[in-house]
């Protein structure tokens, strides 16, 4: 059966923490309560027995097996400051990139600074430089364009000349052909004219011949 008062008194007695009042109550219970007294007596006896408990010799045991090298000091690159240092360096690098950190080497002097953008003079120089570049590129383009135009014009002239030459030559040939044709036509017409006249003449001669047939033998003529 639990008795908090008894438990508390014995506990305090075991640790020598009894107050005067508690000591009186403790003594009273030891005299009046047999069960409490027996427990106190037993605690005393056990305390004494514990202090005199026989210490058995230690057996041989494997102490080495309790030590692991995993607890050894890590090497310098494995220590905990390495990740922190890495992270710090990364942050510094990011800040340098974002803030436009610049390192300039001029005449053997190194200048560290942050990029705050070009000043007015630099802007003017930059604009002038860009304009010059623009002009040069335009000039070059124009020259190239003019060259191309001249070349094309030259080619066109040559083609036109060639065309004119060839066309006039053909026209002349056609004209001569027409002329020859005309002459031939004329000659054909002339031949027909002459043939008709000859026929007419033949007919006249024949007529004359028949007139004189009675008089003499007919005149023999042949026409091819």
């Amino acid at each position: 059966m639990r008795n908090p008062e008894y438990e508390s008194l014995i506990s305090k007695w075991l640790e020598n923490k009894l107050t005067t009042e508690e000591s009186l109550r403790f003594d009273q219970l030891c005299l009046e309560d047999e069960i409490f007294a027996q427990r106190v007596a037993n605690a005393s006896r056990f305390t004494l027995a514990a202090d005199q408990f026989e210490q058995l010799p230690l057996p041989e045991w494997n102490k080495e097996a309790t030590f692991f090298e995993t607890n050894a000091q890590p090497r310098w690159w494995q220590r905990q400051w390495m990740p922190m240092a890495s992270m710090a360096m990364s942050v510094v690098a990011m800040v340098m990139v974002l803030s436009g950190f610049q390192v300039q080497m001029t005449d053997g002097k190194m200048t560290l600074g942050f990029d705050r953008g070009p000043d007015e003079k630099e802007i003017n120089q930059l604009v002038a430089k860009r304009l010059d570049e623009y002009k040069e590129s335009n000039q070059l383009l124009l020259t190239q364009y003019m060259d191309a135009m001249a070349k094309q014009q030259q080619e066109n002239g040559a083609q036109l000349t060639q065309y004119l030459l060839s066309s006039s030559r053909q026209e002349r040939r056609e004209d001569f052909a027409e002329l020859v044709k005309f002459i031939n036509q004329q000659r054909t017409d002339d031949q027909r004219f002459y043939a008709r006249q000859i026929n007419d003449l033949e007919q006249e001669i024949e007529a004359i011949g028949s007139t004189y047939s009675g008089l003499s033998r007919p005149l023999e003529t042949s026409h091819e």
């Binding site: 438990e7 640790e15 027996q38 056990f46 027995a49 005199q52 408990f53 058995l56 045991w61 607890n71």
Partner: protein, 180 residues
């Protein structure tokens, strides 16, 4: 001769100092072995338990926060390892309430002790439930305060006092019989 404090030895052992670790073992192997004998009732189990405790302590050294004495922290681990030992031995038995079963096989090795009083103490302790036995061990043999014992066992101070009170009633009967 100047002796290093436990905390200094722990710090050195954490840095891989074998000497410091073995100095700690040398300082506490005897109390831990005696603790094992009284908690298990025989020397073989006590030796196994001692090995187990020191392996566990070494593995947990980094978790030692230097809050309170190293000895208290050591016995806290010893208690957990001892409970684990009992769980392995009797998985079906509750560690809090059921008393130790008495049998020929389980009888403590009192023969290894030459002192009669020590034999009686060992025998009487083996008849206590483990929970009470742990409180008796820490209070009477290692002189921890109730607060320290409560901290080591993860209990309230009142529970510890109650367990000791109950243990005293059982020890009383056993010791009376043994002394008869």
């Amino acid at each position: 001769m100047f002796e290093r404090r436990d905390e200094q030895l722990v710090s050195k052992a954490l840095k891989g100092d074998r000497k410091a670790w073995f100095a700690l073992i040398k300082r506490y192997e005897q109390p831990i072995y005696q603790y094992g004998i009284r908690m298990t009732g025989n020397t073989h189990d006590a030796a196994d338990l001692m090995q187990d405790i020191f392996v566990s302590v070494f593995k947990s050294l980094a978790n030692y926060r230097h809050e309170g004495a190293f000895k208290g922290w050591l016995f806290k681990i010893a208690h957990y390892r001892c409970m684990e030992f009992y769980r392995r031995k009797r998985p079906q038995q509750s560690l809090d309430e059921c008393p130790e079963q008495e049998s020929e096989e389980e009888a403590p090795e009192t023969g290894i002790l030459s002192n009669e009083s020590s034999k009686q103490v060992l025998s009487a302790m083996q008849k206590l439930p483990i929970a009470q036995k742990a409180v008796v061990e820490l209070k009477f043999f290692h002189h921890f305060t109730f607060e320290e014992i409560a901290q080591q066992l993860g209990l309230s101070s009142n529970t510890v006092k109650s367990r000791l009170y109950s243990a005293l009633s059982r020890l009383k009967l056993d010791l009376e019989v043994e002394n008869a």
